[in-house]
Symmetry: C2
Subunit: 245 residues, 2 copies
DNA sequence: TTTATGTATTATGTATGACATATTTAAATG
DNA sequence: CATTTAAATATGTCATACATAATACATAAA
């Protein structure tokens, strides 16, 4: 086709025209305003009508831009009262997005690996912040795990590892990992179900992990965790190889 | 005041009434629809007018709900063409939010720690996926670091560690850490500036890290990284103690 | 017949005006 | 002065209209 040839050669000479919608422009102007005025969490945002007049666009556009900022948690609007700037929640919206069905296999893989990475890297924080109650709680959880590890239940996994993250006393990190649970569940259901005979020889159980926490150090704990997660590491590394080849 | 007393004691007995706005309801209905219909990335979303009629609300409300979903990257709308479901970007919006000024000290602390955690936990992926070119690139970066570590430049830090993350070949992880850079920068500028005399005795430089990658294993690398990040670990642990006490 | 141009349709983007509702403020009343 | 009433306020919702650009189709030129 001559058309595609033409555009093909032209593309290097002429840059495509990008048109920012009014809403786009309003959004960036709002962000600029907040930065310029150095507004902090709790400060009031100008009224919609004031913004309309100041920027010379309809309330429709202003509201759409505001809706975006509300969606990312930067603004909170109280009905009939006004809007204030909020301390944004970095993980906002994530729970709506983490649905295995709409995420690509690659992204799922990425997130699954991130969980593995966190699980390994968290050791220093754990040993820096652990308190007696943490270990007591973990032991209590162990007792509820009937027929583990012969029977692998997602519920055990979530409760146990969730409690470990709590030790690190990093709220954002904890919430992040809890959001990753559906992905872990998905990968598990998808064929990772551990039959008893597939458990590695020196498989590290939750009980052994607790022991490593109780009387170990970051290095020992990590070694235990590495073996606890071995099948997952092996699998993700194998899969990624398949994808990139 | 008797009023505040009353609400105080009643709050435990009576749950507050929560009213979901029309937009809220439309949003969840849309998400339900997508899930129910098992829509995937690329599939078409019903037209605005169809949605209006189906749900019996005005286009305004429909559009506001759609705007939310566009904001989190679940939907993409092509002007005058229609809307499609998109593979959502899990990190969307994050770049707008990561501005030290609007984040609380605690969240900044959380994110800073997450970076430390990732840096430690990434070792397994690195050694599973490293290729010759990676090491060559790292060595090339080393040569550009003039007067390091005597002079600490954020730029060095970003380039070097960014390249390390690339080795793991996890796109989401890589983008995530690059978004954390402003926070690292902020914390650094805020008083973490390493004067030469403050460098720990056996400080691990970037060069030593490369060596650990080149002829080591995950454990050795982590040991090196731990010492490389020691001042940061020490500081964040000290600070968190102050906050919680 | 093929190609390029003009045209109608379509769906989102934007504007305008109105009303509902709950909060706050101010006024009025006892 | 305290309490109640009324008014002003700001967001949430509705309805309608038009602008604009992508697509498909029709049409004229080669």
């Amino acid at each position: 086709m001559s058309k595609s040839e033409t555009t093909g050669s032209l593309r290097n000479k002429i840059a495509p025209i990008i048109s920012y919608s009014l809403t786009d422009q309003v959004e960036t102007r709002l962000l600029d305003l907040f930065k310029k005025e150095d507004l902090r969490s709790g400060d009031a945002v100008p009224k919609e009508n004031e913004l309309c007049e100041a920027m010379g666009v309809s309330r429709t556009v202003i509201r759409e831009a505001l809706t975006r900022l509300k969606t990312i948690g930067l603004i909170e609007s109280k009905k009939n009262k006004g809007m204030i700037l909020k301390e944004p929640d970095l993980l906002i919206g994530l729970d709506k997005l983490i649905q295995p069905k709409i995420l690509s296999e690659e992204t799922l893989q990425d997130m699954f690996e991130m969980r593995l990475v966190l699980e390994m890297g968290i050791a220093e924080l754990i040993f820096a912040r652990i308190q007696p109650k943490d270990i007591a709680d973990l032991k209590a959880i162990l007792k509820t795990e009937k027929n583990y590890p012969a029977v692998f239940e997602m519920d055990f996994e979530a409760k146990f590892h969730g409690r470990i993250y709590e030790i690190a006393r990093n709220n954002t990190l904890m919430r992040f990992q809890s959001m990753l649970l559906p992905i872990f569940q998905y990968v598990h259901d998808k064929g990772m179900k551990l039959k008893q005979e597939e458990l590695p020889k020196n498989y590290v159980t939750h009980a052994l992990l607790v022991k490593a926490i109780e009387s170990g150090n970051p290095e020992k704990y990590r070694d235990a965790m590495k073996r606890h997660l071995k099948v997952h590491f092996d699998r993700t590394i194998k899969i990624r190889k398949l994808i990139t080849d």
